[in-house]
């Protein structure tokens, strides 16, 4: 949930990072840990006198207690309500008065705060961000007004958008036990009851240097950042009572699930299928790498296998895609969807989708297609260096989701090493309907097309 803009949950492209000759992305990166346990990553780019600071807390909506869904995101809003040193609204006002921009976002596994300013403003940004890590002031008035704001946010993002409501329902069906099945923004009836005590409890439990990663990207040196980080963040004591990050895990999934969602506002029906899938794990990223390649081969734009079969050959779909969220602390999703061509039913689109998935496994991987994807992975080594703010996002998210700097830096090479057999084996394992939710988004103005 971005605090200010109507953009969906943070997604990270699978195709990021280094591998080949010249300077690599890894060469730009330095990392270290402060004495109080706060992890620090510096990404250098000296082309312009600009810096991005991000502080990532390893606490997101999936870390919430039962019954208070949305509290992680609510707290993110409340973090702008002021401290003794910087009163209500002063945080963003100070950033703006220094020519900068700031925002924050919450996801299942993390909450992050960031500012973009001229490089010489970094000390002030650190002073303010460190200040609100432990000195936040909250009162009932702020709670009451800001709760209305998050309810309006839910209305805007979710309740006004049948696709978002559909996604919420299919995700809830996907996870039998894990809190990933609960929306980041929260269920409305629980959001309406969120209170000061719950917000403070979450803040005190999770907002501490030993539960945070600082990422600084731009026109800075690691030495400067180390010195400043020691000065501003290093003095904050670690939370000795920080709980282990143990969350309810998925049991074995044994039954196919189907979600039929009807809404008068649906103009374009579609069918989706999501499968429970393994994520990238520390020192164990190969299965995920094969799934990244599978998603690209199936759904990679105009030349993807599904588009080839359903859009070009059979003309049964207007649009298809495949996706895989590789970075996640716990079990993630692999998904495909198809927008049927005019006059084609969702049932026929689903059948064609299943046929295509089966024939992909039977036909095997087209080596030329795999080589094109690997070429793009290599090229991202060049393009990513032009966007250090994007790199900061990628490092911050991965480090908040169970990976290490060495995992991140090994990833491009692991992607290059994926073989056709690995991909087919991964497809056979993951594309199992017993682990899947099939969803139909349709208008309630008609029964079926």
């Amino acid at each position: 949930m971005l605090r200010r803009f109507a953009v969906g949950a943070l997604t990270l492209t699978a195709l990021t990072t280094p591998a080949i000759a010249q300077q690599t992305v890894s060469d730009l990166v330095t990392d270290f840990t402060l004495d109080n346990g706060m992890q620090v990553v510096v990404i250098e780019d000296h082309r312009a006198p600009v810096v991005v600071q991000m502080v990532w807390y390893r606490a997101g909506s999936a870390d919430e207690k039962p019954g208070v869904s949305g509290i992680a995101h609510f707290l993110e809003h409340l973090m702008f309500k002021g401290t003794d040193s910087f009163g209500p609204g002063k945080f963003s006002a100070t950033v703006a008065a220094n020519g900068g921009t700031d925002n924050a976002f919450t996801n299942y596994d993390f909450t992050a705060y960031h500012q973009r300013v001229a490089a010489d403003r970094l000390p002030l940004m650190m002073e303010m961000e460190a200040d609100r890590m432990t000195h936040l002031n909250l009162d009932e008035d702020a709670i009451k007004t800001e709760r209305q704001v998050i309810l309006e946010e839910r209305s805007m993002r979710t309740d006004s958008n049948p696709q978002a409501l559909f996604g919420e329902q299919t995700r809830a069906a996907q996870y039998l036990n894990h809190h990933y099945g609960i929306p980041v923004i929260g269920w409305r009836h629980e959001m309406e009851q969120l209170n000061l005590q719950e917000a403070e409890d979450f803040y005190k439990m999770y907002y501490a240097p030993n539960n945070a990663t600082l990422v600084v990207a731009g026109d800075v040196t690691p030495d400067e950042v180390h010195k400043l980080a020691d000065q501003y963040y290093g003095v904050i004591p670690a939370n000795p009572d920080l709980p282990d990050r143990v969350r309810p895990q998925e049991p074995e999934q044994r039954a196919e699930r189907r979600v039929i969602f009807k809404d008068a506002r649906v103009a374009q029906p579609y069918v989706s299928r999501t499968y429970l899938a393994p994520e990238r794990d520390h020192d164990d990223q190969k299965p995920a790498a094969a799934l990244v390649m599978l998603a690209q081969l199936l759904g990679g734009g105009q030349s993807g296998y599904l588009t080839d079969k359903l859009v070009f050959e059979k003309k049964i779909a207007t649009y298809t895609s495949a996706f895989y969220n590789d970075t996640s602390l716990d079990d993630t999703n692999f998904g495909v969807y198809a927008v049927p061509a005019p006059g084609v039913s969702l049932e026929d689109a689903e059948a064609a989708l299943d046929d295509a998935l089966a024939s992909f496994i039977k036909d095997g991987v087209d080596p030329a297609a795999l080589e094109r994807i690997k070429m793009q992975v290599r090229a991202s080594q060049v393009y990513d260096r032009d966007d250090v703010a994007g790199l900061a996002q990628m490092y911050g998210a991965a480090l908040s989701q169970g990976l290490t700097v060495s995992d991140i830096q090994a990833w491009p090479e692991i992607l290059q090493e994926v073989q056709p057999d690995d991909i087919i084996a991964a497809a056979k394992q993951v594309l199992n309907k017993d682990h899947a939710v099939t969803g139909y988004l349709m208008s309630d103005k008609e029964v079926t097309q």
Partner: protein, 436 residues
């Protein structure tokens, strides 16, 4: 080779920060001009091109032709079909973007230095000799029609299309660039060829390149990429006077949260009052949490997640508008607060402190925009499209800083018209009546 190179060194100073970008004007042997920023530290180039006119050049009865054409350029050229083209693009790790909007059509690309010639040649083939096969036309039409039907059920699209219809009379701005289901269904291959020849002309294009390329290399690239395009194009539309009347229009729609857009006459960059108005809008409702609208509607009352006002400086019309979304039973209060703030700032103006904060924000944020090759190329193309001088980035902050309290408050009095606002509300608002 290059007829002349005019290097302009721009010192952008944000506080102590100091950014320098060297913008060169390059003219190819064939006479095509572009702005260039050389940045050899990363081996790729971002190229951005904007053709003036865009979807505003759709011929009578052919609404949606330019939009559909923009979606078909990458769908096949010569003996390559859409899939072959996509494979070739992927194999080069290049990426091309084609998009039409109401004032222009943009074509952007990024490509590696190691295969620049091949990447540019592939791009050339899509621009100069697209196939527009019947198969591809049918396929992309279905995609466009799907989008048109989705917009017809989307509250914010409904709100803006209703507002545009009220504001722009018979000007192309009054209708959606995607066209209607009927107009799109009727488009033929000939219509698309006509649209291409009307829009993609080499004497109406603004170009910028940023990255690992020299002026000489860029000159050669431009001639091979665009040399075969025609000149001329369809006549540009006339400037339109807004046909807005004050009042409230309600479009009944079953949704829990009402979507609102509003507006009045605005002013463009050519207007001597532009920078005062720009600062005024920043204080009133421009983007950040610091704006009066954000403070009054969101922070103080919790009536919305976001409320914004903006100066829409289009090529042939100027609008001062805004948007908000609130629950059906609270939207009347949101509109009332917005009206009050519009009236209060027009009557009482802003404070010295507000003006100072807005100046600090805008002048500090400006150099931070020049971040990344693709972003810089896009900014430079926008500047050329808007006829701004090549040294504009070096003088822009001075223009912001030159605005006085007296001037901004005069502009608030003269240019903001709370009694002229037209609101369009999509939803089931409670306690709000239409006013015509």
């Amino acid at each position: 080779m290059i007829r002349f190179v005019l290097p302009v060194v721009l010192a952008l100073s944000a506080f102590q920060a100091h950014a320098e970008i060297k913008i060169q004007q390059v003219t190819s042997p064939g006479g095509i001009s572009a702005w260039l920023v050389e940045e050899h530290s990363i081996p790729f180039t971002a190229l951005d091109m904007r053709f003036a006119g865009g979807a505003a050049l759709d011929e009578a009865g052919k609404r949606g032709a330019t939009y559909l054409m923009s979606g078909l350029l990458e769908e096949g050229t010569g003996d390559m079909d859409a899939r072959d083209f996509a494979k070739a693009e992927d194999a080069l790790a290049a990426s091309y973007g084609y998009s039409a909007n109401s004032d222009s059509m943009s074509i952007s690309a990024r490509f590696l230095s190691e295969n620049r010639d091949e990447a540019v040649d592939l791009l050339r083939r899509s621009i100069v000799e697209p196939t527009f096969s019947e198969d591809a036309i049918a396929r992309v039409k279905d995609q466009v029609l799907s989008g048109i039907r989705a917009d017809a059920e989307d509250p914010s699209s409904i709100a803006s299309s209703k507002f545009d219809a009220l504001a722009y009379g018979d000007h192309p701005y009054a209708t959606a660039i995607e066209g209607t289901e009927d107009s799109v269904a009727a488009l033929t291959r000939d219509d698309l060829m006509t649209a291409k020849n009307n829009v993609l002309v080499k004497d109406r294009v603004s170009i910028a390149a940023v990255g690992d390329i020299t002026p000489e290399q860029l000159g050669t690239l431009l001639d091979s990429l665009l040399g075969a395009l025609p000149t001329g194009g369809a006549p540009l539309p006339q400037t339109v006077d807004l046909s807005l009347t004050p009042g409230v229009t309600i479009v009944p729609y079953d949704t829990p949260q009402a979507q609102v857009v509003w507006g009045q006459k605005g002013l463009g960059m050519e207007d001597p009052d532009f920078f005062a108005a720009y600062l005024l809008n920043t204080i009133l409702g421009g983007g950040g949490f610091e704006s009066r609208l954000m403070h009054e509607v969101r922070e103080k009352r919790g009536l919305t997640y976001g409320v914004y006002s903006y100066l829409a400086d289009r090529d042939f019309a100027d609008l001062w508008g805004g948007s908000v979304a609130s629950a059906n039973d609270r939207v009347a209060e949101s509109i009332s607060v917005i009206r009050d703030e519009w009236a209060r700032i027009a009557k009482d103006g802003v404070t010295e402190e507000e003006l100072d904060s807005a100046k600090k924000y805008l002048t500090g944020a400006y150099p931070l925009r020049f971040d990344g090759n693709g972003t810089i190329a896009s900014i430079l193309v926008g500047m050329q499209h808007d006829n701004m001088p090549i040294d504009y980035p070096a003088t822009r902050n001075d223009k912001v800083n030159a605005v006085t309290l007296e001037e901004i408050n005069r502009v608030a009095r003269e240019r903001l018209h709370p009694d002229q606002l037209r609101f369009v509300v999509v939803g089931k608002p409670v306690g709000l009546d239409p006013v015509n």
